[in-house]
Symmetry: C2
Subunit: 369 residues, 2 copies
């Protein structure tokens, strides 16, 4: 019955959340996991291997019609090796670099004429920026890891080089927008999302961004389209932004489904996960309209709470609208192990946020009743 197999390198929650839409569409998903216990490997076919091993990945790719990523860690030379051997892999190495190398990303934004904070690549010597500023490892950072506030030369000297240095932006909000682009050049954007951070980790998203002026929303949508076209994106991408009054600046790119797009599962006609599958399979993209006035997503972070299932009862009874997503990952302090989502119409946003906050606190053990 000629249904294709999508190979996903990585088997975390992002791969796991592709399975629902894949099963609906009849598409097979195979994941390249680091262990049988990985979030997605628990629920679909998997091959366990090392994603820096080009031959292992080539072997994996040969049982797939197309290969994509759910993390940024596959080295460029490995992606290029697969491409050289005729593997259909999206995004391409040339495109994916902007998700892997923050310096390359900054240079690209500059070339596209998009708003960057002041930045420099730094290897040694006296920096062009004045203290304090932000230093980022060009590769591999996430959830606040690989990002430092630098107060003086000594702190700068202590970090491994090269670094991306960026001015400390005095933003009022952090906003993210998901955008999808298919090989045919079709592009869709979802409603921009407010991301609320604590200690460098996103704890909550609110969609749409409350009180975002219409012009700024359009500017954000257009900016994401400019990037998607400028880097020849295939798949979905999160564009993370700083809002400073009526200005926006690009913060980071993630060329894959992203935490700030989880609200789309219930909150949009087509989720980021279905859209990613459509894009890498060269299918027409789905509608991205929101299904409700508000969608509030709360991340469940690993804490001292281990009995997840036992805690569903109270929350389901408290709020029959709450949607649960548990990734079945090993519990680690501060690690994203699940999320909850609440959509609402004709209601106060504050009430939805309160419910989501309660659910998250209860599931991560902050509230114990």
């Amino acid at each position: 019955m000629n249904f294709p197999t999508v190979g996903v390198v990585g088997a975390g929650q992002l791969a796991r959340m592709m399975l629902g839409p894949a099963t609906n569409l009849g598409i097979n998903v195979q994941v390249f996991a680091s262990s049988d216990d990985d979030s997605a490997a628990q629920v679909t076919d998997s091959i366990v291997g090392d994603y820096t091993d080009e031959l292992a990945l080539l072997d994996f790719a040969r049982s797939c019609d197309v290969v994509t990523f759910e993390h940024e860690l596959v080295p460029q030379n490995v992606i290029r090796f697969l491409e050289k051997h005729g593997v259909k892999i999206f995004p391409s190495a040339e495109t994916f670099i902007y998700s892997q190398d923050k310096i390359a990303m900054r240079e690209k934004m500059k070339q596209l004429g998009l708003p960057n904070p002041r930045y420099q690549r730094y290897d040694s010597g006296v920096p062009n920026l004045s203290f304090p500023f932000i230093a980022k490892a060009p590769q591999g950072g996430y959830d606040g890891k690989g990002v430092w506030v630098i107060e003086n030369q000594g702190q700068l000297d202590a970090l491994p080089k090269p670094l991306l240095l960026e001015e400390k932006v005095d933003f009022s909000h952090e906003i993210s927008i998901m955008v999808a682009r298919s090989p045919s050049g079709e592009i869709k954007t979802w409603s921009p999302t407010l991301t609320v951070q604590r200690d460098g980790i996103c704890i909550r998203t609110v969609t749409p961004v409350p009180e975002l002026p219409r012009e700024l929303e359009l500017q954000i949508r257009n900016l994401s389209i400019t990037i998607a076209e400028g880097i020849a994106l295939i798949g979905v991408m999160a564009v993370e932004l700083f809002q400073i009054g009526n200005l926006i600046m690009v913060n980071e790119l993630a060329l894959r489904p992203h935490n700030s797009g989880h609200w789309t599962i219930e909150g949009a006609v087509t989720s980021q996960f279905e859209q990613h599958l459509r894009a890498v399979l060269d299918l027409p993209l789905g509608d991205t309209t929101s299904t409700a006035d508000w969608a509030v997503m709360g991340n469940i972070l690993g804490g001292n709470q281990t009995d997840m299932f036992g805690h569903y009862g109270l929350l389901m009874a408290r709020n029959p609208n709450l949607k649960f997503h548990h990734y079945r990952k090993e519990m680690r302090e501060g690690r994203k192990i699940g999320h909850v989502l609440l959509i609402g119409n004709d209601c106060e946003l504050a009430g939805l946020e309160r419910e989501v906050e309660y659910a998250v606190d209860y599931l991560s053990g902050v509230i114990n009743e």
Copy 2:
């Protein structure tokens, strides 16, 4: 991490569609399949066996926290055997009989004071009903199979006995309502659905039922609650009804997720599949509010079209709102192999129906462009 395993006897599309919500909730699903190729066995853990083999099922049940059904075919004595051995199985044998035996169902409706057509159990002799009437095999019928219009005594004599005879009801519409009940007695109903039949097979559902008077809607919801309580339902149930002007009559019961509830996947806050899992796990039930003004579901029936995936492109381009569900079942003439769904707000129902009809005709090979 103490997540339970739900065992599902049967591995067709109904079990398959439980996997999405199960994966979201972190719940494990194991299916008792007749073959590794079964729709759900392709995408989750399965044990292959014969569902009339009580020891095989007991073995299966021992690796599950709770067992439920996706078809009516498990014999009563097998269910009772499992119950005697302490297996938590929902619905219970005592309840499930009303999904398995149409004569028992009619007697129960009568006892509950609910509107039946005139009917009789028939073994031999002159029937109480006048020709023409409907004869039904008490067990095992579906999609028009096991149902006959009887014009004369000769036709009646030719059928295996016992039979359930029912007057031919001159209904204007067929309506179905999904209802869920949990062990705690909590009950939720979804919006009643119009089911459009062709040759005894449902080809389309429309939710809500167009122009259904509010009093009739309430009567239908209340009737489904009366049945759910009256038979001590645990899980979800479809109550299929005849509408005759301002009257309704019970047609059939199905004590499991049902084709007439597929619209709830995208069309309601909580789908019938998530609700069934919640109910059998004794969790509070989810909200059943519709997410849109209209939900139109169209069944894709097996025809001469075998290239399903290759036909997605045109339909996705034609309508980015269309949701696809492919069951990955072997193609057989007239067999339900998938469905499509369209939800809509502030739009003409006729337009949605037209789009769904086009998609279904195109996917089953009636339209060839």
